[in-house]
Chain length 385, copies 2
């Protein structure tokens, strides 16, 4: 029985994780839930799952949750809040496995604390790996703590890597749907509206990741994440546009063999894989191979998707540049969604923030968070003009 801490339990990945727990009650138990501002859902989850500890976003929300649970006759649950609350969830002694699914750098401290406490981590939060990948993977290696990727692409790579040794890996190929603007002519990119950018062809996701898919910055973050997770150089990581999102990624070995992973586009599959690893429980998440007809592939266009180029530049520089890439993108995406900058203002902002970022390699989470705040500030100032 694996006892889980779910960081970001009310979000999309958190809810999918709980649906997996529901399907496999003999394998998984919920020991800790860390939510944010969605109090009603946090309450409902606490009542349904009876964890040992629940964390919410603020002291005020924690103060409101306590009487709600008492009124429902639910006792024995510690109620905590904020960053220290999330850390209490991820390091709880009765937790065997931590699902890190808080969006953005907010989940960083709790994820780091989980690794320091020796807990295996299922990582759905790519910003953690982009901003602090060097720190997290070093800590994980020193303590032999597995980090299992929950992203569909990295999960696919993790599966394919089992076919050979690390030294035998030549390159990995992350597939990308190409987003809604894969075939849009370059001159029309300036007029892209938030409504158009929010329509993703194959995956239903949160707002920032949907925009990041449209700019392909998301794939760029995944390139950096892949370098960190799998100990590869940026030269070893390629992006392949694959509109059907059927092949989730490919690994090419030095002998010439390439191994690819295929599955339904449903996050429950990588979640189940990470939770049950190294076992594979039978699931109903079946891809109908008999109905497979054709798969298309093409090379990404770095001119129409400058975010991808910027991400590779950051990947080569590492450290502060990766932090700045992620931070400035988040600020720029918010500004784009608020109608304050055009679509191509997103790479424009990132480009300028990266250009003014000094080369540095933060060695602690506090330094990472400081560099993150500083980059956000520069991005805001640039956008405010």
């Amino acid at each position: 029985m694996k006892r889980l801490a779910i960081l970001g339990s009310t979000g999309s990945i958190g809810q999918s994780t709980l649906s997996i727990v529901e399907q496999f009650p003999e394998r998984f138990q919920v020991a800790a839930l860390a939510a944010g501002r969605n109090l009603d859902e946090a309450y409902a989850q606490a009542v349904r799952w009876r964890p040992r500890v629940v964390s919410v976003g603020s002291e005020e929300l924690a103060g409101r949750l306590a009487p709600m649970l008492s009124k429902a006759g639910v006792g024995g649950i510690d109620i905590v809040y904020g960053t220290s609350g999330t850390v209490a969830c991820s390091t709880h002694p009765e937790v065997d496995f931590v699902v890190s699914a808080i969006v953005g750098v907010a989940g960083l401290e709790a994820t780091h604390a989980a690794i320091l406490a020796g807990k295996p981590v299922g990582l759905a939060n790519k910003e953690c790996m982009v901003a602090a990948g060097e720190i997290l993977t070093r800590a994980a290696r020193e303590r032999s703590v597995p980090i299992l990727p929950i992203d569909s692409e990295h999960n696919a790579v993790h599966q394919c890597l089992r076919v050979g040794a690390h030294a035998e890996v030549k390159t990995i190929w992350l597939t990308a749907s190409g987003g809604p603007f894969r075939q849009l002519p370059l001159e029309k990119f300036t007029a892209i509206t938030p409504e158009q950018a929010l329509k993703h062809p194959t995956w239903v996701m949160g707002r920032r990741i949907t925009i990041d898919s449209a700019t392909m910055l998301n794939k760029g973050l995944e390139v950096i994440e892949a370098c960190r997770l799998f100990d590869l150089t940026p030269d070893q990581v390629h992006v392949m546009v694959h509109p059907q999102s059927t092949v989730h990624s490919l690994v090419e070995f030095v002998d010439g063999s390439i191994v690819a992973q295929i599955s339904v586009t449903d996050m429950r599959l990588p979640i189940l894989y990470a939770l049950a690893y190294p076992e594979r429980p039978a699931s109903a998440l079946t891809f109908d191979l008999a109905a497979l007809r054709h798969l298309e592939f093409e090379q990404p266009d770095f001119e129409r998707f400058p975010c991808l180029r910027l991400a590779f530049e950051a990947a080569y520089k590492g450290g502060a540049h990766c932090i700045a890439l992620n931070a400035s993108d988040e600020v720029a995406v918010e500004a784009f969604l608020a109608g304050r900058i055009p679509f191509m203002g997103i790479p424009g902002t990132i480009d300028k923030v990266l250009a003014s970022t000094p080369e540095a390699h933060p060695a602690t989470i506090a330094e990472v968070l400081a560099a993150d705040r500083e980059a956000r500030q520069r991005a805001r100032e640039l956008i405010a003009g």
Copy 2:
């Protein structure tokens, strides 16, 4: 250093194996070569590779080879012949690994003897597995002798299986190019000539296997081979038509993940994999993923390719039916190439031979060979009318 016995050294797989040995002199050495009737090539190989033992097809050929080698000043090579000669090669004490690449059941005894002697086998001879798979795999399991498939499809499956446990395999999907008649209307099948059938769209191979690809009997033999090699039921083995021959096979796991192997269509890659397993040496056999554009898949048509249906029937019955399938096909293909029966006479002959085959499970190689001879005899009689 692995010291190899190459059974079928002058054939296509044998020569490709020698080209791999040439590329990796620090890894592989030639200890034994078993050739057939191509004396000049056997002589040239003996001179080039200086094995401990060379086998040729007959006493007469052995008698001619000895003075040729003496004249060239090449000594210290034992010259043997016939089935006992091939067995002497496959069981030679200085052999660490046996490449079984003699076409047809002729290589059966030597392959069985290699397994009994505890030698790992790289198997390029699918007829061995079809006719005597139950005997060979039992012997290999009892002695923990690995059998590494050199067929591109089974080699792909072997690679993909490393991604999970045997009990986690749901189905495997062997890809098939579909051969030259994939899109030919059914009514035109009766007029197919040997010349048309000998033109394979993606692989250059021997005559029988090329015709077997055109009837898809080859894929049927591979279904049976896969059942034996990977301990699967025929229900677990599917065929998928994939005209590009880029994806060599796929394995579907119970959790819903599917893993596929992609590579160039060059037999040297599966040979290198089998020889070096579990390592993957760097090779120049590179597939250009950046040039990948589209992959097509379709379900096989059992009406136009009745050989595939017959093979599944034989797979379910096992034993004597698998032997009869292979034996009657070989006889029928010869008759077709000689212009004595039409293309659809191949499945017609097999169907009748299978129908008159009693259910039986030969327990020794001698029984297998007797059943094989008997089925060939029935096929010849049927064709003679």
